[in-house]
């Protein structure tokens, strides 16, 4: 029945968000107002100014922004439109009067609005959309890029942002990844597996492990680099996976290009699988007397692909596109579930010194949750953040790419030492039930 008749979607189709090539590398930023509860005194200047712009009268009830005051604790919170990335009001509006513009500002088109107020029902931020005096629906349009409330806040509690102007971590990471890819694959021929630069030698820990099992002998040089990587991983976490791994770099590139189409079958989606593969590789090496996994290791094949031996060594090179194809399911699925090199590093990372904390107090739960989306390992629990709790981030799975830190516009994601407690903004289970 619904399908037969014309609906509002036929008359007024929702514009699809256009993605340009530029967006791949410089994602469009969302303009919004930031609020710092520590600075707010609850004076209400913002409400007054907003109402003068809205109606030409001083009437805080008509403002598109409201200060909620908790007198017992002496805390205030400004409630206003966050211009969500995926605005629920736009979804809920029965007449499609709400639109999200090219510039990211969510606006109401007066012509179509019937003031039904379903947007207020659908707004998770509870932004004051309905005028308290005239019952009209009106919303914050950020004063078209120059918000009055921000300009006149006497304590600087409000600030206007178009997102971080320059994501430096991102730039640094891509550069490091590119350099390490060039170095490991092209300059030091045949190499992350083992390379010697002068007196400095380093070899792949998983390779070393298999070697030990295969030959039954412990080579001192191998053990030394094993120890070096162990110490570095304890210090910095699985930074190798996020910053240096040449195959990880390929995966990150592939991820930018191909869309996520399929889901992995449930039985494959276990993070323990990689430990199994690691164990299997060690056992296989002991049984056959050579490094079993190394023959199919995507990092190894990639490293060995360039040089005199030739770019394409037949069947071996097929591993790379095959495993990169896993990106069609989830980001870095190889790293998440299967990579035994990562598994060994994860075992080292159990002794991590650093941790990443996401402060639920600073997080704007519903309008953003970008951290969970950008995390290539999928270890940030967005649902937990929405419930107002800081998610626990398993450092054995974290590859230290710092995308969460880079993206969070509220500064909620932080690096802390493992033993640090009571990180500002962190909310654990016990606190929220108070």
């Amino acid at each position: 029945m619904q399908d037969e008749r014309l609906g509002i979607d036929d008359l007024r189709p929702r514009g699809l968000e256009k993605r340009t090539l530029m967006d791949l590398f410089m994602p469009r930023r969302r303009p919004f107002i930031l609020f710092d509860p520590d600075r707010c005194t609850g004076c209400g200047t913002c409400e007054i100014l907003c109402s003068t712009r809205n109606t030409g009268k001083i009437a805080p009830a008509s403002a598109s922004l409201r200060i909620v005051r908790d007198d017992a604790r002496g805390r205030n919170l400004a409630v206003y439109c966050q211009h969500c990335r995926k605005p629920l009001c736009v979804e809920a509006c029965p007449t499609r009067a709400m639109t999200r513009g090219e510039d990211g500002i969510v606006r109401i088109e007066k012509l179509f609005c019937t003031s039904c107020g379903l947007c207020t029902a659908a707004c998770p931020e509870a932004a004051p959309l309905r005028d308290g005096r005239t019952a009209e629906i009106r919303k914050c349009d950020l004063c078209e890029g120059d918000p009055l409330c921000v300009k006149h806040c006497p304590n600087g509690a409000l600030s206007y942002t178009k997102g971080k102007a320059f994501r430096w971590i991102k730039g640094v990471r891509w550069t490091v990844q590119l350099i390490s890819f060039l170095l490991l694959v092209m300059v030091f021929l045949g190499t992350f597996c083992y390379f010697n630069a002068g007196s400095f030698g380093l070899s792949c820990p998983t390779g070393t492990l298999q070697n030990i099992f295969a030959t039954g002998r412990i080579v001192l040089a191998g053990l030394a680099s094993f120890l070096a990587i162990f110490l570095l991983t304890v210090l910095l976490g699985r930074f190798f996976c996020g910053w240096l791994c040449p195959f990880g770099f390929v995966l990150d590139l592939v991820d930018r290009i191909i869309p996520k189409k399929f889901g992995l079958p449930k039985f494959l989606k276990t993070r323990m699988a990689k430990y199994g593969i690691l164990g299997g590789a060690a056992a296989g090496s002991a049984a056959f007397g050579f490094q079993v996994f190394c023959t199919v290791c995507p990092i190894g094949t990639l490293c060995r692909s360039y040089g005199q031996q030739g770019m394409f060594r037949g069947a071996e090179m097929a591993i790379v596109p095959l495993l990169a194809g896993l990106e069609l399911t989830e980001r870095r699925s190889w790293c998440r579930y299967f990579c035994p090199v990562g598994a060994l590093l994860a075992l080292f990372a159990k002794l991590h010194l650093l941790k990443i904390v996401i402060g639920a107090k600073k997080c704007k739960k519903f309008s953003c949750i970008q951290c969970a989306e950008v995390c290539p390992m999928g270890i940030i629990d967005g649902d937990k953040l929405r419930e107002g709790l800081s998610p626990e981030i398993p450092m054995t799975e974290c590859i230290g790419c710092l995308r969460c830190l880079d993206r969070c516009p509220y500064g909620a994601a932080k690096i802390r030492f493992r033993w640090q407690k009571g990180v500002p903004g962190e909310v654990t289970g016990a606190e929220v039930n108070r």
Partner: protein, 153 residues
């Protein structure tokens, strides 16, 4: 109850439904057409007004609870009839007598929040959202703000 009939009459008078000329403009602009698959004349503002005019028991009608209390019908009416005021008044009358099953209450404060069909529509539109977002949206805006204040400030 005499008081109840009197109140109904007052509501009808205040919303000016005796001036209605049955042009149907209110129904033409009503967003309910978009919202409900089972939209019918009985549910439309014109149907409700007609029922009120002919003296049927409109307050007990289930169709009363589909309205979003928007202002479109009132804006469009050439006679200045406010169908919103009529519906709002009648709903308040029913709510005063006790909570009807067509009205959702906010799990936070217990006050009436949205009519069941309206909330069904909103949650239907947002069906792809995670369950904790939907649960959050069952709270009334005032309770959401309180919750935010507790969690974020």
């Amino acid at each position: 109850m005499a008081g109840r009939d009197e109140r109904i009459r007052r509501i009808e008078k205040e919303s000016g439904i005796d001036r209605c000329v049955e042009c149907g403009r209110c129904t033409a602009v009503c967003p309910m057409v978009e919202m409900y698959v089972n939209f019918s004349i009985a549910m439309s503002p014109r149907g409700i007004i007609k029922k009120a005019l002919t003296g049927e028991a409109v307050a007990a009608d289930r169709n009363l609870w589909y309205c979003t209390e928007c202002n479109a019908g009132t804006d469009a009416c050439p006679q200045g009839v406010s169908c919103r005021d009529l519906v709002r008044g009648l709903r308040r009358l029913v709510l005063d007598a006790g909570k009807p099953e067509e009205m959702n209450v906010c799990p936070g404060c217990g006050g009436p929040f949205l009519a069941v069909p309206v909330e069904d529509f909103v949650l239907g539109r947002l069906k792809d959202e995670p369950p904790n977002v939907k649960n959050w949206l069952k709270l009334c805006p005032a309770c959401r703000r309180e919750g935010y204040l507790r969690r974020n400030a």
